[in-house]
Symmetry: C2
DNA sequence: AGCGTCACAGCAAGCGCTTTCTATCCTAGG
DNA sequence: CCTAGGATAGAAAGCGCTTGCTGTGACGCT
């Protein structure tokens, strides 16, 4: 029914071994023979049987990319960059590898299951992107899996995710704490003293780090934070919208709202506008990530730009073994503060 | 070195066959035996060898999702919906399948190569999303590949992509032409007579269909179009920005700009604003797709909402064989006109 | 009591490819 | 002219798993 290596061999009048060698190209084969084989391959429309090949060679060309939410450009941009370096078809890398992105939806179980599936497929490399869950049990389970993967020869790279000690995984982490701190410092510098904070889901490293940065800036400025100034939610626009309404209810005198990321910030802007508040005249807004649409918001969003594409590309190269891992297997990438129209001095800055 | 089925069998004191059956769970195994096996699996940290399993069973649990641009939420949303139906880990589907999304970057060769790679892996199903290239040669090559895939038992579903006749592929297409037409009719109804159009890349079905709808509306209203009113570009914000500037240069009297999609529309808005033109007072703007951020633009974008998530979910179910394909293997999904703040009557509507 | 039937469990034959080891043919040096 | 050695090609042994077919008791029916 289906064409096999043997069929090709028969047609080309050579042994299966020779066909295999032509196809893998790492063994001397006479030019004339090679041509005959390729011709047969073409005529027969032969397609290599991946599983059989992987089984026999004990390797696979699968590279897994785990993302929390594939519909979120934050992950899309990283995934895209990683994939372009993995090579995949058309990439500048040599061998064709199947770069696959797996959507965990932020669920720990799915993350674990995907990792198992990838391990099952004997993936050549795995890149995990974005924040990790902080649940201790889950973290341990993931760490164990990663360790098993690296031990089996799979290269594991964390991109935009904190290091996982003793797992053999290389980490390109984002300096979320520092970015959050600089962002809030900027607002404080503008004169703000009452700042609301819309955080991401609890138990997420990214959430915690950004929040810590924010609080560090507040503390450094001697501002004591009201517990009601922080609201947790998801990393999406709706969440930002609702959280802002809640924040306004709790303390109408807030002069700035710092959001967990740009999408949340956009939702915040919508809520403020609908509440009749001007941005930044009445309330300043700040986001995080600097996704492409952020500059188009009106007013344009003040945010922290994360080098998503660069980090992804680097992670991809490391995963492919085409770049040396950073010393210690850990690199931290800083974000750049982008000051735009959505932040300004509070109206009554003198009163603070 | 690595643990194999035989190791588990030895430890559980059963034959490899029994272990396999326990793991696949489609053969009667006594409860006590099953438990013994599972215990051994657990103790040994056994992970099935995917390639070996696929080879022996002549099937695989890989499902491929091809997207043009993974960083674009348009594709991200569809991919996410497809994946959630594929099951993947945690999905409501039974068997665990590895849903993988492949980023073609809109390149025909990459598309073909990914298709080959998927064929090589004996993928259980493949979903192709988004518009297709109209290059005849490439289209034929893709069609041939799809035919070969379906013949080999791989289910092929096109989502948001025109049907591919005689390939055995099921298509869930978007009514881009109708949507484009209704959108432009809306603007004409508002009184616009001079409309610029920022189209996507040429040679893309989506681009052509939307443009055809636009022109059909113009024709129906008896408006003869100036060739200079159409500019082609990419499906991104920058392209929209530049194209708008170009459009304005060609004909400053345009009262409306229709964009290929929402990202392009956002770029158009930016260009208009920078040119000192009010939206919609001076120029109305319309997008397409209704991505999440579109409602947050200021003013909110008038656009055509495509049921991306629904279509993706449906495509996913069909790919899994959990839903009957539509009659004839083709379904067309309509978009819904969303009238928002970015479109309004032209200033001098009476003059037209 | 005798035998057909189940319910399980094991045997063994591959699945289609890679790769080590070997065989063969040439070319070239002695 | 003979042979060492390089360049190719082939034979065959798996890679780790699935599954059709073959036992083998235990059970229930007549």
């Amino acid at each position: 029914m289906t064409v096999t290596l043997a069929d090709v061999a028969a047609r080309a009048q050579v042994s299966p071994a020779t066909v295999s060698r032509v196809l893998n190209g790492n063994y001397p084969v006479a030019a004339s023979t090679r041509e005959r084989v390729l011709k047969a391959v073409d005529e027969l429309d032969y397609v290599l049987n991946g599983p059989a090949s992987s089984l026999a060679a004990a390797t696979s060309d699968l590279v897994g990319i785990l993302v929390n939410d594939i519909a979120d450009p934050f992950f899309g941009i990283m995934a895209s960059a990683i994939q372009s370096e993995i090579g995949g078809p058309g990439g500048r890398a040599g061998g064709e590898r199947l770069a696959v992105v797996c959507n965990t939806g932020g669920s720990p179980e799915r993350e674990l299951t995907y990792l198992t599936l990838l391990q099952r497929q004997r993936a050549a490399a795995v890149v995990l992107t974005g924040g990790a869950m902080e649940d201790a049990q889950h973290a341990a389970a993931v760490a164990a899996k990663l360790r098993r993967l690296t031990e089996a020869g799979t290269r594991v790279v964390l991109c935009g995710r904190p290091p996982a000690p003793d797992t053999g995984a290389v980490a390109i982490a984002f300096d979320n704490r520092g970015g959050g701190q600089r962002l809030t410092e900027h607002l404080i510098g503008l004169g703000h003293r009452r700042l609301g904070y819309i955080a991401g889901p609890e138990e997420r490293t990214t959430t915690r780090h950004r929040l810590e940065g924010h609080r560090a800036a507040l503390a450094a400025a001697g501002i004591s934070e009201d517990p009601g100034w922080t609201v947790h939610g998801r990393y999406d626009r709706t969440s930002g919208y609702e959280a802002t309404l809640e924040l306004l209810r709790r303390d109408p005198s807030l002069t700035a709202v710092v959001a967990a990321n740009d999408s949340v910030a956009l939702g915040a802007c919508a809520a403020l506008r609908e509440s009749g508040l001007g941005i930044p005249d009445d309330v300043s807004v700040a986001g995080f990530d600097d996704l492409p649409f952020s500059v188009d918001a009106v007013p344009a969003l003040t945010t922290v730009r994360l080098p998503l594409a660069d980090a992804g590309a680097r992670a991809g190269r490391i995963a492919m073994g085409r770049e040396e891992p950073p010393p210690g297997g850990i690199a931290t990438v800083r974000g750049e503060l982008m000051v735009r129209g959505s932040s300004g001095a509070p109206r009554q800055s003198a009163s603070a």
